[in-house]
């Protein structure tokens, strides 16, 4: 168009930035190794546990988490769902996906909660973080794959990191929200009895923000699950890979069966984290 004197070289700048960043190989290698170790540890444990024991453990966890207001339908669903995944031959894919989801949720938690706390304590930080979080969540998730590959190569680790970026915002937001929602007179009470900011955070703010915060963690987990197919494009193994291959082979059957396995896993993770959250609240 004539009004454009010249195209703004935004893409070039970003490329230059990415290229400049790739020279810190040592730093990125360290991260790759660290996250790789977490991934391997999860996977090692999951591979060690026989299928039947895994199912029993999941059922036991659900049984314990839903001890207030037992839901037998959920237990039945879990039993049948996991047996189906086993039967369809997606067991190892399922544990790989679980590894991806748990690792990225864990990292999202470890980074997201402190960020959320910082955001709650400072209005300026909140002002800056809000648009950044919006950007992280609305940027098409595919885009994260490109620098992730540039920095971390192919495999589980870049998949985990792309998931972390996409899945972290709800944890940050809900931590911030939960802390800011603590009634002002409770904060005054904590202050008037001479609490340090740390004591106030640990004894009052975080416990009262817990259920909101946990809702954020639950959302983060669901978002990282939604990343598994995308992450499979850069070599993150799991159910996503099965879906991705099925698309390539135009095989609706195995596409849907792998998809159903993801849905079963999603429902189990969602219900368990929700039940854990409810179980912690006092009536």
């Amino acid at each position: 168009m004539p009004i454009l004197m010249g195209q703004l070289p935004l893409a070039d700048w970003i490329n230059a930035l990415v290229k400049w960043l790739t020279q810190f190989t040592g730093f990125f290698n360290a991260i790759t190794n660290f996250i790789g170790a977490i991934v391997n540890a999860f996977q090692w444990v999951f591979d060690l546990i026989p299928q039947w024991l895994f199912i029993v453990l999941i059922l036991a966890l659900t049984f314990w988490a839903t001890r207030r207001g037992k839901k037998w339908s959920l237990l039945t669903f879990e039993l049948l769902g996991l047996l189906l995944i086993w039967n369809l031959g997606y067991w190892r894919d399922m544990t790989q996906t679980l590894t991806l989801v748990l690792t990225s949720s864990l990292i999202a938690l470890v980074i997201g909660i402190p960020l959320g706390i910082w955001m709650a304590k400072s209005d300026i930080v909140e002002l800056i973080m809000k648009p950044v979080l919006d950007l992280m969540q609305t940027m098409p998730a595919f885009v994260y794959l490109i620098p992730a590959v540039a920095f971390f190569g192919i495999g589980m680790v870049p998949g985990v990191l792309a998931s972390v970026i996409f899945a972290m915002p709800p944890t940050v937001r809900m931590t911030n929200l939960g802390i800011r929602q603590v009634p002002a007179d409770l904060i005054e009470a904590a202050d008037s009895y001479g609490s340090t900011s740390w004591q106030k955070l640990i004894k009052v703010q975080l416990p009262l923000a817990k259920s909101t915060l946990m809702a954020g963690v639950n959302q983060s987990m669901m978002l990282s699950l939604s990343m598994v197919v995308i992450a499979s494009m850069i070599g993150a193994l799991g159910l996503g890979t099965q879906v991705y291959f099925a698309v390539g082979r135009n095989d609706a059957g195995s596409g849907f069966t792998a998809g159903i396995a993801i849905v079963i896993l999603a429902i189990i993770l969602d219900r368990i984290t929700q039940a854990l959250n409810k179980g912690q609240q006092h009536s």
Binding site: P183, D185, L186, E188, A189, A190, D191, S192, Y193, G194, S195, T196, Q199, K203, V204, P207, L208, H282
Partner: protein, 398 residues
């Protein structure tokens, strides 16, 4: 008594352009003028007062009068714009974060209008909170918390959660929490305002009872004048961030500083606060050791009364003589009053009895009440008219 808390020129201005607002304030401009010129709101304007050791000092005012801001400046929950707050002579404004925290831990406790109990903690953990943040070990703080709950009359709720308790009980917990860390100054922000009237009255009684044992210095915020008059040793009335009047309940009732205070006290049930001392008048007496029947009769005639109170040389109450009996004595030529002096039928009371307690009897008794002090001295009498006048709001200082 010494000043426990001393506040000098304490000012809080909210909003922007604070230096300009401060300058206008020092020029004597009003809150409305300052708001118009700078957009800043004067919360509290140059408050000066001191609270004595062991007294209950009530700060009164309607909402927006700055009383809540004022009490929060005393422990610096709200940072004052200028002024001084001294506790035991130590200026809090000069303290850094750590110093302030120490003062909050050791010297002051606060009780809140909506209780502000931590819903995630048991009653015992709530009460022990102040000790917990000081790093007191669990056994000691549980014991202290338990004792302090006993003190406010809560038994067996240690392991319950706040939302399982009624409002009145929750505020007892709030009070117990304030008492647990042995602070000498209690800041009570509309502490009983959220309670229903019966609970409120119970809590007021309880506070007075506790105060007799503990002798804390209590700064109590209220918007309820009856409450202020009931519990306050002294009352400070605020309006638009300015202190209008400070004084004892009697001072406020008998000498309201301006129309604002006067309107405030208009609908107070005066019988609750006025004591016999406020409404008694000076009696006409005869001295049984000195005066004879003729003097007695003349005094009665001079004052248009039909009976007279009889005292001894030291003004101790002896009894009461009727005009007819005295006249009979004179006719008999008897010069000794004692044969006609009777103690019968004379109702007796003491100066610090609330007037309300006399209301029932005063309408039925034939002779005025005799007011006697501890040594049985006749200090005054109560006539029906004076009581009615006092209730109606007339000045009765004789």
């Amino acid at each position: 008594m010494t000043a426990k808390v001393e506040v000098k020129n304490l000012t809080k201005i909210f909003g922007r352009r604070i230096p300009r607002a401060q300058q206008l304030l020092s020029e004597g401009k009003s809150k409305a003028e300052i708001l118009e010129e700078t957009g800043a709101t004067v919360g509290v304007s140059r408050a000066n007062f001191s609270v004595q050791d062991g007294e209950i000092f009530v700060i009164m005012g309607l909402s927006g009068s700055g009383k809540s801001t004022l009490i929060r400046m005393i422990n610096r929950l709200i940072e004052p714009t200028e002024g001084e707050i001294a506790i035991d002579g130590e200026d809090l404004m000069t303290l850094d974060k750590n110093g302030l925290r120490e003062v909050r831990r050791k010297k002051m406790s606060m009780v809140f209008q909506n209780f502000a109990l931590f819903p995630n903690r048991t009653i015992l953990q709530n009460v022990g909170y102040g000790l917990e943040v000081q790093g007191v070990d669990q056994d000691t703080r549980d014991k202290k918390a338990h004792d302090s709950l006993e003190l406010v009359g809560l038994h067996g709720y240690d392991d319950q959660y706040p939302q399982q308790l009624s409002g009145g009980m929750q505020q007892r917990v709030g009070l117990a929490r304030a008492l647990a860390n042995d602070a000498e100054v209690l800041l009570m922000d509309e502490a009983f305002s959220a309670l229903d009237p019966l609970n409120r009255k119970d809590m007021q009684d309880e506070l007075l009872e506790l105060q007799e044992k503990m002798h804390k210095t209590i700064i109590f915020i209220s918007h309820d004048l009856n409450e202020a008059l009931r519990i306050g040793d002294r009352i400070m009335i605020m309006k638009d961030g300015v202190i209008v009047q400070t004084g004892t309940p009697e001072d406020i009732l008998t000498n309201p500083a301006d129309d604002y205070v006067e309107r405030f006290i208009e609908d107070v049930d005066r019988t609750k606060v006025l004591t016999v001392a406020n409404v008694m008048i000076r009696p006409n007496t005869v001295n049984i050791d000195k005066d004879g029947p003729r003097i007695a009769l003349r005094r009665m005639r001079d004052n248009d009364i039909s009976s007279i109170y009889v005292v001894d040389n030291e003004r101790r109450f002896v009894g009461f003589a009727d005009a007819d009996d005295v006249a009979a004595l004179i006719q008999q030529g008897n010069r000794d009053l004692s044969s006609v002096v009777t103690k019968r039928e004379v109702p007796i009371t003491s100066p610090d009895t609330p007037v309300r307690d006399l209301m029932d009897q005063i309408s039925s008794t034939p002779v005025p009440f005799a007011v006697l002090d501890d040594q049985k001295h006749l200090v005054g009498i109560i006539v029906r008219g004076a009581v009615l006048g006092a209730i109606a709001g007339n000045e009765v200082t004789e």
